[in-house]
Amino acid sequence: MVELVLIPLLKIIVVLNATLLGVTYMVLLERKVIAWAQSRLGPMRVGPYGVLQPVADAMKLMLKEDITPARADKWVFTLAPILSMVPALVVYAVIPFGDEVHLFGRRISLYITDINVGLLYVVSVTSVGVYGIILAGYSSNSKWPLLASLRASAQLISYEIAITLTLVSVVLMSGTLSMVGIVTSQASQGVWYAFIQPMAFVIFFIGGLAETNRAPFDLPEAEQELTGGFHTEYSGMRFALFFLAEYANMIVVSSVATTLFLGGWLRPFPNVEFLSFLGIVPGWCWFLLKSFIFLYLFIWVRATLPRYRYDQLMRLGWKVLIPLAIANLILTAIVKVALA
Amino acid sequence: MADVKVAPPAGPPDPPPPVDLPVPAAIAGLQSAMPGAVLALSFFVGDWTVIVDRAAILDVARYLRTASGAAFDICSDVTATDWPPRPERFDVIYCLFSTTHGQRLRVKARVADGDPIDSVTSVWPAANWLEREVFDMFGIRFSGHPDLRRILMPDEWQGHPQRKDYPLEGPGELLLENPLDWLKLRQARDEADIE
């Protein structure tokens, strides 16, 4: 009973809470990092160095009036933020944060579950997240959100193809779709896939920016163009759900990137003997560190680059990234067959 | 500024140029090309002004734009002045500049209230909004203008604010006797639009 129900339940509770806490502090981190990039201080008022700012934000959003526009499609309007939040959280079920730890005399694996189609599960669940944005735009009965949702649906579908193709290259290397299996295969092959699949890594990063609607691909919520994009008409907690979903998706993308390309919980250079002293740092710390670097890159890019235009975004996706991803896939297959 | 009310002036002084001052080539050319059109010349603090016949304004504009000696390719400004005591109460003023010759010229035409004047948008597209503003502020109609609507004031505004007989503080109760009626009217119109 303990093995079957209690431990998974505890894991789910821990992961969900850690995620939500991480997401709120992700917001603070982003504000701080961008502020430093722009020679500002960022939030400083709530708590020392503004560390309690997320709490204040959450309070504000929860207490705010939740407005539904008069001619909105009411139940779709309510459904949309939930549809965008749920997939972002459900994905964490298969992400391996670490290997195994011994706790209270038990061996506990640091992932909720390891299913044999883990990677496919990630891709398919995140692909459902686009409904939140599309339905939000449609149900608001407002023209700007509608434009944003049209942009979002085209953008997310296009970049999903490129991302999925890069994932296939990784699967070719590892020979498994299991997330844990991919990490262990990197350990056994003694190299992070970022080094032998650099092209896939870069395409995944760019596609990840686009999939999470981050600058320079933040067209569905381009404030300067679409007055806030798909969530223009949202307020209060429903707006907060969209916001949290975006940051949760960022963490998902960086976790997946860490797992697939940066060796998950493995220490750097897992096969180099004289670096074994790095092994005293627990695996989940490495995982968090690598994910954090990825998240920092997301923020850094946002602070630096202007935004693409819709047609340019499409051109980049279809004419550059997808052909490159296909070429990379074919090349990987050829090399793999030649070596076998 | 409660200074003593003096009788409103009947028109600008338009001082004629000194006899010993040579007339610029562009103006001389205009005078010889269209002898009837130029009513008077004026020179004041270094600015040349040509006062032309209202009916001939489009021809004058075309000449000034195209003639090689004039080539006024920039229409800086179109504006108007109101002189209520005069029968032709408005002056429509065109401020021109020539990039080839580097000189300025003002063209003036007198228009009576209710009379139209030809639009010069076909010669200088820049005059489009400027003429709209003159229409909005003075109520001078420009015939042949592609899009003569109010520009600064709301579409349903009554009166023309820059006229001298228009009070500075606005029409007051005359227009907004009951603002709620006006709002209702507007709302009804908007809803009709949506349907």
Binding site: D73, N116, L120, S127, V128, Y131, I134, L135, L150, S153 | -
Partner: protein
């Protein structure tokens, strides 16, 4: 026992959503129900132990194709007047005929598979690999290679056709 309960609950959901897809007045609502329907079908696959097919079902149908449906529904103004729903005599007969044809087909398959049940099971037993994904892959590239390639050609042709149709003469 648990499996049977799951099956009947899911089947009821699938049928219920399918009815809602057809009866919803708003085409966007129809599409949302269709998504929910597909998700339930995916869950059904999971109960059958076919995780790969379930994941593909969600990825391709729920996450891809229906998004395009939604895209089209929102892009094209399909707000029909109420009369269109009432005066649909010809469409109703056509729909009934199609539904009848599908029913007959399903019944025929059921009867036929009851008469000779061993054929699909024997194919799976010859697969030398274990694991859901691997088995599907193996079968696709051995026994069903030709249909698989034909299907992909068909899709390619359809795609080219769509581009030709959508392209404006310039």
């Amino acid at each position: 026992m648990a499996e049977a309960i799951a099956f009947y609950v899911l089947a009821a959901c699938i049928l219920g959503f399918a009815v809602l897809v057809v009866t919803a007045k708003n085409p966007v609502h129809s599409v949302v129900f269709l998504v929910l329907d597909f998700l339930c079908v995916a869950a059904l696959y999971v109960t059958l132990g076919a995780e790969f097919v379930a994941a593909i079902q969600v990825l391709v149908y729920a996450g891809g194709i229906v998004v395009l449906y939604l895209f089209v529904v929102m892009l094209v103004n399909v707000k029909r007047p109420p009369e269109a729903f009432r005066a649909g005599g010809r469409h109703a007969t056509l729909g009934l005929a199609l539904a009848g044809a599908v029913l007959v087909e399903a019944a025929a398959i059921a009867v036929w598979s009851r008469l000779s049940p061993a054929a699909p099971a024997s194919a799976a037993q010859t697969v030398p690999v274990s694991g859901n994904t691997e088995q599907v892959g193996w079968l696709l590239y051995t026994s069903y290679l030709v249909p698989f390639e034909v299907a992909s050609m068909l899709l390619l042709v359809a795609m080219v056709g769509a581009i030709v149709l959508a392209r404006k003469e310039s």
